[in-house]
C-alpha cells in the first residue's frame, strides 16, 4: 500500500494542521509514515502545502513528485499543484474558492468554506475536507483521526473544538459524487 497525499491552500487555512493530523493518526496503524510541511518565508498569505506519505514499505522520499490524492483549498494552489496528481487520482477541491479545473480528472467538489462558515468558523474548512478524504480513502480508523483532532485543540476554546469536530463529521457525511 502506498498513499501519497498533498494538501495545499493559502497560509492561514490550516493546511499544515490537517496534514499533521492525518500523519499522527496514521502512525498508530501504518508501518511507515512521513509528513512534510512547506511554508513560504512570509508569516501570512503565501502558499502553504504539506505532503503525507503512508506506506507498508520503507519510504524513500517524503516529497514525492506525484501524489495519489490531493486536497486543494484555493485556486492558486489548484493551478500550481494539479499536475502532480496521478492519472485516476483523487482530487478534492474546496469549490468555494476553486474554479473548476479545465479537463480535470473527476474531482469531488465541496463548498467547504461556505459549509464551515455556516458551522461557525471558516477556519474549519480544512476539517470538512479531511472528512471527505477519509470517507473516500479508508486507510486510517476514523476514531484515531478524531482523537488527533481533539489533541490539537487542547488548551483552546471548547467551542472551537466542537466546531471542528462537527466540521470533520460533516465532511465524512458529505455525499455528492461528481
Amino acid at each position: 500500500m502506498l498513499e501519497r497525499v498533498l494538501i495545499a491552500g493559502s497560509g492561514g487555512q490550516g493546511v499544515i494542521l490537517a496534514g499533521r493530523i492525518v500523519a499522527s493518526a496514521a502512525m498508530r496503524s501504518v508501518p511507515h509514515v512521513t509528513f512534510f510541511p512547506s511554508y513560504g518565508a512570509e508569516v501570512r498569505g503565501g502558499t502553504s502545502n504539506c505532503q503525507t506519505v503512508l506506506s507498508t514499505d520503507e519510504i524513500h522520499s517524503p516529497l514525492p513528485s506525484r501524489v495519489d490524492s490531493m486536497i486543494v483549498m484555493n485556486q492558486p494552489s489548484m493551478e500550481r499543484y494539479r499536475k502532480m496528481l496521478v492519472r485516476g487520482g483523487l482530487m478534492i477541491e474546496n469549490s468555494t474558492l476553486c474554479g473548476r479545473p479545465p479537463g480535470a480528472t473527476a474531482a469531488i467538489s465541496v463548498p467547504a468554506t461556505e459549509m464551515a462558515e455556516y458551522l461557525g468558523s471558516i477556519r474549519a474548512a480544512n476539517m470538512i475536507l479531511l472528512g471527505v478524504y477519509l470517507r473516500r480513502k479508508k486507510l486510517i480508523p476514523v476514531e484515531d483521526v478524531e482523537s488527533e483532532i481533539r489533541s490539537a485543540f487542547v488548551g483552546k476554546d471548547d467551542s472551537l473544538l466542537k466546531i471542528n469536530i462537527e466540521a470533520f463529521h460533516a465532511g465524512l457525511a458529505y455525499d455528492r459524487s461528481p
Binding site: 499533521r20 500523519a23 502512525m27 511507515h32 509514515v33 512521513t34 509528513f35 512534510f36 510541511p37 512547506s38 518565508a41 520503507e58 519510504i59 524513500h60 522520499s61 517524503p62 516529497l63 514525492p64 513528485s65
Partner: protein, 353 residues
C-alpha cells in the same frame, strides 16, 4: 516526531545540561522544544544574543565539565567557526547542530548540503577536525545526536550533527531508545581548585615548539578517531552497474532510485557515509572497486564529490549530479541520469575502449 524535535529530545535524554541557541529558519523548532523542556528539568536554556554568543556559552559550559549543545543553520554556523576552532584547540567536548539551508550569504530557507566543506575541511582556522555525523531519517537524528554527546566526551572534541532543512521539518515515527546519559569523569574541568592543583583550559601556546607538539597530539587523536569511528551504510554495493554515493536527504532519494532502477535492468547500489569526518575512504574504495561507475548525488556544487574522488582513486569513473541553492534532486532526474550512465557503462564493457 519531526527531525528537529528528535534532535532536541535525544539531547535531553543524553543528559545535555545546557542548550544555547538563536532563532534562524529552518531549525527554530529545536530552540522552541528546548525552551519548553529544559527549564522544567532544572537545566539551562538560553536564547543568546547571537550565534556567536551561543557557541561561546557552549565553550563555557564545556569548560565547566558539563554537556552543552547549540544549533543553527548555515549563516549562523558560519558565525560559530571561531568558537569551534577554540573548542578543538582547547580539546573541549560540545555538540553543534547545523540544519543546512541554501547559501551562500542569506540564501534561502530550502534544504542544502553546501556546508560540507565548512564542516569537514575546517571552516574555522587552524589544523583541527570535528567529528561530523550525517543522519538521513528522523530515527537517525535521534540516534546520532545521542551518539554525538558520547563521542564528544570520549574524545574531548566538538562533534557536529549535519542535517538539512528537509530532514528537520519532516515527521516520521521514532523509537526513543535508551540513551546513556552519564558522561565520563572530567578531572580536567574547571570546577574550582578545592583539594587539587588548579586546572587551566587554553589554546594559546607560545612556548618554543609547544604549539607544534600540541598539534601533533591532536593529529594522533584524529588518527585514533579515524580508525574507530567511521560509519556508513551499504546497500547492494557489490558488483553494481552504478554505485550511488550520497548522504542525508540525497541518500533517501538515492534509495528510492536504486530500487526503481532494477525495473529497467540496472543494478544500482548505494554507499551512504554516516560519518562525514572521519570519512570512510577505505570501505568506499572497496565498494567502488567492483562497480562499473560511481554517481555522487549532492545538494551542492560538488563538495563531498572531492572526497569520493579521493576514496575511489581511479578505480571507477566518478560522475556527479548536483543541485544548488536549495534545489533538491528529484527522483525523475536521478533515474534519467542512471539510465544514461547504464548505457555508457554497457558500451564501455562491450569492448568499445
Amino acid at each position: 516526531m519531526t527531525g528537529n524535535d528528535a534532535i532536541a529530545e535525544a539531547a535531553i535524554r543524553a543528559g545535555c545540561d545546557a542548550y544555547y541557541g538563536y532563532p534562524i529558519t529552518p531549525q527554530n523548532e529545536i530552540a522552541n522544544y528546548m525552551a519548553r523542556h529544559m527549564p522544567a528539568r532544572g537545566r539551562v536554556f538560553i536564547q543568546a544574543e547571537s550565534e556567536l554568543a551561543a557557541i561561546n556559552m557552549v565553550f563555557g559550559t564545556a569548560v565547566a565539565g558539563r554537556r552543552a549543545m547549540t544549533s543553527s543553520s548555515s549563516p549562523g554556523v558560519s558565525l560559530k567557526q571561531e568558537g569551534i576552532s577554540y573548542l578543538a584547540g582547547a580539546e573541549l567536548p560540545a555538540v553543534i547542530v547545523n540544519v543546512q539551508r541554501g547559501g551562500p550569504g542569506l540564501g534561502n530557507i530550502a534544504p542544502s548540503q553546501s556546508d560540507y566543506f565548512q564542516a569537514v575541511k575546517g571552516g574555522g582556522h587552524g589544523d583541527y577536525h570535528q567529528i561530523v555525523l550525517a543522519p538521513h531519517s528522523v530515527q537517525e537524528m535521534y540516534d546520532l545526536t545521542a551518539l554525538a554527546f558520547d563521542l564528544a566526551d570520549r574524545y574531548r572534541n566538538p562533534v557536529m550533527v549535519l542535517s538539512d532543512g528537509r530532514l528537520g521539518q519532516m515527521m516520521e515515527p521514532v523509537t526513543l531508545h535508551e540513551v546513556r546519559s552519564r558522561p565520563p569523569p572530567k578531572p580536567w574541568a574547571l570546577t574550582g581548585a578545592r583539594g587539587r592543583k588548579p586546572n587551566l583550559i587554553r589554546s594559546l601556546l607560545l612556548g618554543e615548539g609547544e604549539l607544534e607538539r600540541h598539534n601533533l597530539r591532536l593529529q594522533r587523536k584524529y588518527a585514533r578517531i579515524s580508525r574507530s569511528e567511521q560509519r556508513w551504510e551499504e546497500r547492494n554495493a557489490r558488483n553494481c552497474d552504478v554505485l550511488i554515493v550520497a548522504y542525508g536527504t540525497c541518500a533517501r532519494i538515492a534509495k528510492g532510485c536504486a530500487a526503481a532502477a532494477a525495473d529497467f535492468g540496472l543494478k544500482a547500489g548505494l554507499f551512504r557515509p554516516i560519518s562525514l569526518w572521519p570519512f570512510p575512504y577505505r570501505p568506499m574504495r572497496r565498494a567502488a572497486s567492483s562497480a562499473k561507475c560511481v554517481l555522487v548525488v549532492e545538494m551542492s556544487a560538488g563538495q563531498m564529490l572531492e572526497d569520493v574522488r579521493l576514496a575511489v582513486a581511479g578505480m571507477a569513473p566518478v560522475f556527479f549530479l548536483g543541485r544548488m541553492g536549495g534545489g533538491v534532486p528529484e527522483e525523475g532526474e536521478v533515474l534519467r541520469r542512471l539510465r544514461a550512465l547504464a548505457k555508457t557503462t554497457r558500451r564501455r564493457s562491450h569492448g568499445a575502449e
